[in-house]
């Protein structure tokens, strides 16, 4: 009798451990790219995932980071390198380019006008929707530091916070889908 009780207890703890291993209905994305087309795809997947009932977390790192800068905001107190990076990297969504066929900006301009004509949502519109849907955005602290960005120059986005690699891995470990874009 005692043996059975011990067995039941062991089984229960096993089930509890298994429960912990089942990931949440969540998608974790790393947005590494700073290309307009790739980031747009990331946001289409993000908003679509919300419609499919999933929780969505996006991690912006390296070239993805400058997309989250707000062109209307100014950040002071930068060193020379920070100023250089700040000037060279795109400031927000309106300065990002296509990964292919940019052709000195002509391709990107053509794509933007085509998107408008075909009613395809712009990157700005997609980001607005993502915010409304509660898509969480994490920004890589190391990229911010490396490129000399200040938090004051980043966009106002209600689900935005800063993190390191462990935060991403914790979220990815608890996600059914992980993407690197």
């Amino acid at each position: 009798m005692q043996n059975i009780e011990a067995q039941i207890e062991a089984l229960q703890s096993q089930i509890a451990a298994m429960d912990k291993k089942i990931p949440s209905n969540k998608i974790s994305m790393i947005v590494f790219s700073g290309d307009m087309d790739k980031v747009l795809a990331a946001f289409v997947i993000a908003t679509g995932a919300v419609a499919m009932g999933m929780e969505v977390v996006m991690f912006f790192t390296f070239w993805g980071t400058p997309i989250l800068r707000d062109k209307t905001k100014k950040a002071g107190g930068k060193d020379t390198m920070g100023k250089m990076f700040g000037a060279m990297l795109p400031k927000g969504t309106c300065e990002v380019k296509l990964s292919k066929m940019n052709m000195g900006g002509m391709g990107t301009a053509m794509m933007k006008s085509l998107m408008k004509k075909k009613n395809v949502a712009s990157l700005d519109q997609m980001m607005e929707m993502a915010e409304e849907f509660g898509v969480q955005i994490f920004v890589c602290e190391m990229s911010m530091d490396l490129m000399g960005f200040n938090r004051e120059e980043m966009i106002d986005y209600s689900g935005l916070s800063y993190c390191g690699v462990a935060t991403f891995l914790e979220q990815a470990n608890d996600s059914k889908i992980q993407l690197f874009i």
């Binding site: 289409v44 908003t47 679509g48 919300v50 419609a51 499919m52 009613n119 949502a121 929707m129 849907f133």
Partner: protein, 80 residues
């Protein structure tokens, strides 16, 4: 589906490309009661595959799909 199917709401999503139809229908279905049916018009060719995928994942039911030229009408019943 018979004529007596009651439509609680009609959504005109003509001209909207991916991912908008799915985002809109997902929002729209929440605005009717469980058991009620919405009629959705879409011209996005991807909707033919996307609506069933969305409905299966969210647990709703597509009662009928009517294709007429470019426009597809989906009759979706809110189940959950």
């Amino acid at each position: 589906m018979s004529e007596e199917m009651k439509i609680a709401k009609v959504m005109d999503l003509k001209g909207l490309p991916c991912p908008m139809p799915i985002l809109k229908v997902n929002k729209g279905i929440k605005e009717v009661e469980i058991g009620q049916v919405i009629e959705v018009w879409s011209t996005d060719p991807g909707s033919l595959s996307d609506f069933p995928s969305w409905a299966r994942t969210r647990g709703h039911q597509i009662l009928k799909t009517d294709q007429n030229g470019d426009v597809t009408r989906f009759y979706v019943q809110r189940i959950v």
